[in-house]
């Protein structure tokens, strides 16, 4: 370490003209200002809460909610607590957001690449897709999809059936629900075993390709093993799953799992909307890659799909990831528009019904915002980590 003697003529410097002291002063002023503002808001709020006799605190989380929710990933009925409605809503938000992210990404990449296709029609259709969905408010699209999904679907009595076990109607898509009984363990074992086998086969195929250059239909064989082995066991053990097939009783299909139309509509709207943005990001990412890379790949004889896969996309990812991250964040935040069509997400269930029944706006909104902040933070962290990883490969 160099020995750092702080410099000369300190005594002469007027306090106001010393940049360090000056910045200290600014910061103190800022801090004081913030504290005063904070205190002012807090005292006003406390006074207002008090003078209006509004209850505060988080006790309400443990009292009975008393209202129903039509989609819950965890067990829930009216007798559960408000605290549980929080988790029901949270999980529903996470469900729609995570599936939405996956679909939007896949769709966005396909369309972004199609936008650059040398098939004129495909390129134009992609452009129209992008320009249409990007420039219309999401809320409107959600309404659109909701009614577009609902309108053509029949009432439960006239459901569209597939194989007598799937039923599609305007109450949603009813699927069989697996109930596991004794002996199912073997199927699980078989599944794990098939995974191991697949792993082995892949290793072997890679070694073989490296050695002989012959490629091996890995994907189809793996799929066959992964599905076949457990299925075989399943029948050998004697069908240890009781499929609870939904049946029409009264007004609706009961039993089984139902995917509600609100979910479908929201999911469609979110993915279609976000995919338009992702497509643009992918396109500009690909275009940002130096033309020389394309030429070099072509000169080496790579075909267009291989060039995209091996040369262009890996490099474009570096440009794509940061804006892609903010699209993911937008999608998560936009999922809160669920409330417009009554999909029971966090905002609808917790910041909606629960807030209204308990009247504790500050607590509820604070919790809700904290959730979104946390989700945003987690996504950012993950994407930054991923970006670092691919950036490292690049260097």
């Amino acid at each position: 370490m160099p020995e750092k003697k702080k410099d000369l003529a300190k005594g002469h410097t007027a306090f106001w003209n010393d940049p360090e002291k000056r910045s200290m002063l600014y910061q103190i002023i800022m801090l004081v200002f913030l504290i005063i503002c904070g205190a002012y808001i807090v005292s006003n709020t406390l006074h207002n809460l008090d003078s209006r006799g509004i209850k505060t605190g988080f006790d309400f989380l443990w009292s009975e909610a008393g209202f129903g929710i039509n989609q819950s990933l965890i067990e829930y009925d009216e007798s559960h607590s408000y605290g549980r409605t929080f988790f029901v809503g949270l999980l529903n938000t996470i469900l729609v957001a995570s599936i939405g992210i996956i679909i939007a990404t896949v769709l966005g990449f396909i369309i972004g690449i199609a936008r650059l296709s040398n098939n004129w029609l495909i390129a134009k259709i992609s452009a129209v897709y992008i320009e249409t969905f990007r420039n219309i408010p999401l809320l409107l699209q959600i309404f659109f999809w909701y009614f577009a999904v609902l309108r053509p679907l029949p009432r439960p009595k006239q459901s569209i059936e597939f194989f007598d076990v799937f039923f599609l109607n305007n109450r949603g898509l009813a699927l069989p629900d697996p109930n596991f009984v004794e002996g199912f363990g073997w199927v699980l074992v078989a599944f794990v075993l098939s995974l191991l086998v697949v792993f082995g086969v892949r290793r072997w195929a890679k070694v073989r390709q490296d050695a002989t250059g012959k490629s091996f239909p890995i994907v189809s064989i793996s799929l066959a093993i992964m599905l076949g082995l457990p299925a075989l066991t399943y029948f050998i053990v004697g069908s240890p799953i009781n499929w609870e097939v939904p049946t029409l009783r009264g007004f609706n299909y009961r039993g089984g799992i139902t995917v509600i139309p609100e979910f479908l509509a929201l999911l469609l709207a979110l993915s279609v909307y976000t995919a338009a943005f992702i497509a643009e990001i992918v396109r500009s990412g690909i275009l940002s890659i130096n033309k020389g890379q394309t030429e070099a790949s072509l000169a080496l004889g790579l075909s267009r799909p291989k060039m995209l896969k091996l040369v262009i996309i890996p490099q474009a990812m570096r440009v794509i990831i940061p804006p892609l991250t903010s699209q993911y964040l937008n999608l998560v935040k936009n999922s809160s528009l669920a409330t417009a069509i009554g999909y029971p997400d966090l905002v609808s269930v917790f910041a909606g019904t629960t807030l209204n029944q308990t009247g504790q706006a500050i607590e509820v909104i604070a919790m809700t915002m904290a959730v979104y902040l946390t989700l945003s933070l987690l996504i950012s962290l993950f994407m930054n980590w991923y970006n670092k990883r691919i950036a490292l490969v690049e260097r």
Partner: protein, 314 residues
């Protein structure tokens, strides 16, 4: 701070209403608000400011309404709100009275062939979020050991649209609202309201706790309207009745209690003159002279077999 004072200083009453429910609060083609709840607001304005038009309406969804009142965004919430103990006791709110005695019912499509709510096992039910109906519904089905799927919407409109689109078999809400929503359907005749009433739904205006003067003012605005009907005072005859010898009418017109309420002494007169008595309001908005054609039922005066009853003004 005194709400009466600040309303007078401001020059208008801030009134929370629905986002659109015919008969109760609904903007017409021209954006002018109409309905029972709206007339209550107008009456409050007539009493406080002497001009029924000095009201600023804030359309609120069911979810927003209490927060809006608590926060002071509105002075009075007149928005088909059911009086319950939790709301009265723990939300920091005070119910001022009952403008409409209602009960929760069900509307179904006639095609279903359902005649009673007891047949609704397994039905999907459209419902507006953040209402007592949401809670009653759960109770009712639990009590009758039936299952249901709640389909929750933000506004009455959306609920009706969901019902119409076939998203649910049943729409549940207060009976009055069912009638109001029914006329909004594109084919109102295809839907019917089931006979069962599964709850008590006394609807009335709400104010914040902690300002008794304002509380009294709104409360007595309601009573004045009921009393006016009892006394036979209407918007058309009150001018004449100013000269009436009836001491009760005299007390009414001379505005008993105006001092302590902090308002001008012709407050009751202004209410009736500009807005009308309870009966007029009812008939005009939801009764026989409206598209809803709801029977007065429980909302008749106590003298006529109903339970609308106001304390005397003396």
């Amino acid at each position: 701070a005194s709400t009466v004072k600040s309303v007078q200083k401001r020059g208008y009453v801030q009134c929370g209403v629905t986002t659109g429910l015919p008969g109760f609060s609904n903007p017409n083609d021209k954006g002018k608000w109409q309905g029972i709840d709206v007339d209550v607001c107008r009456a409050v304005a007539a009493a406080t400011l002497g001009d029924a038009n000095k009201v600023k309406y804030t359309p609120l969804t069911a979810k927003e309404r209490f927060t809006a009142l608590q926060s002071g965004e509105i002075d009075v919430l007149s928005r088909v709100t059911t009086w319950t103990i939790t709301r009265d006791a723990s939300l920091g709110l005070n119910f001022t009275g009952v403008t409409y005695y209602d009960g929760q019912g069900f509307m179904v499509s006639k095609e279903l062939g359902v005649k009673s709510a007891k047949e609704l096992d397994g039905a999907s039910v459209c419902i507006q979020s953040g209402t007592t109906t949401e809670l009653n519904l759960a109770d009712y089905f639990r009590q009758n050991e039936m299952e249901f799927e709640p389909v929750v919407f933000d506004t009455a409109d959306q609920t009706a649209k969901g019902f119409e689109a076939g998203r649910c078999d049943v729409l549940t809400s207060d009976q009055s609202q069912l009638y109001a929503l029914r006329i909004k359907l594109s084919k109102p005749d295809k839907a019917m309201v089931l006979p069962e009433v599964i709850s008590k739904e006394p609807l009335g205006p709400v104010v914040r706790q902690g300002d008794d003067q304002w509380f009294n003012l709104v409360k007595w605005t309601l009573f004045a309207m009921v009393n006016a009907e009892e006394l036979g005072l209407t918007s058309s005859n009150i001018e004449k009745e100013k000269k009436s010898k009836n001491p009760e009418v005299q007390r009414f017109i001379s505005g008993e209690g105006s001092k302590s309420l902090g308002i001008s002494s012709d407050w009751a007169y202004q209410i009736v003159k500009q807005v009308g008595n309870y009966g007029e309001i009812f008939e005009r908005n939801v009764g026989s002279s409206s598209p809803l054609k709801i029977d007065r039922g429980l909302n008749k005066l106590w003298t006529k077999g109903g339970i609308q009853y106001a304390p005397p003004m003396r």
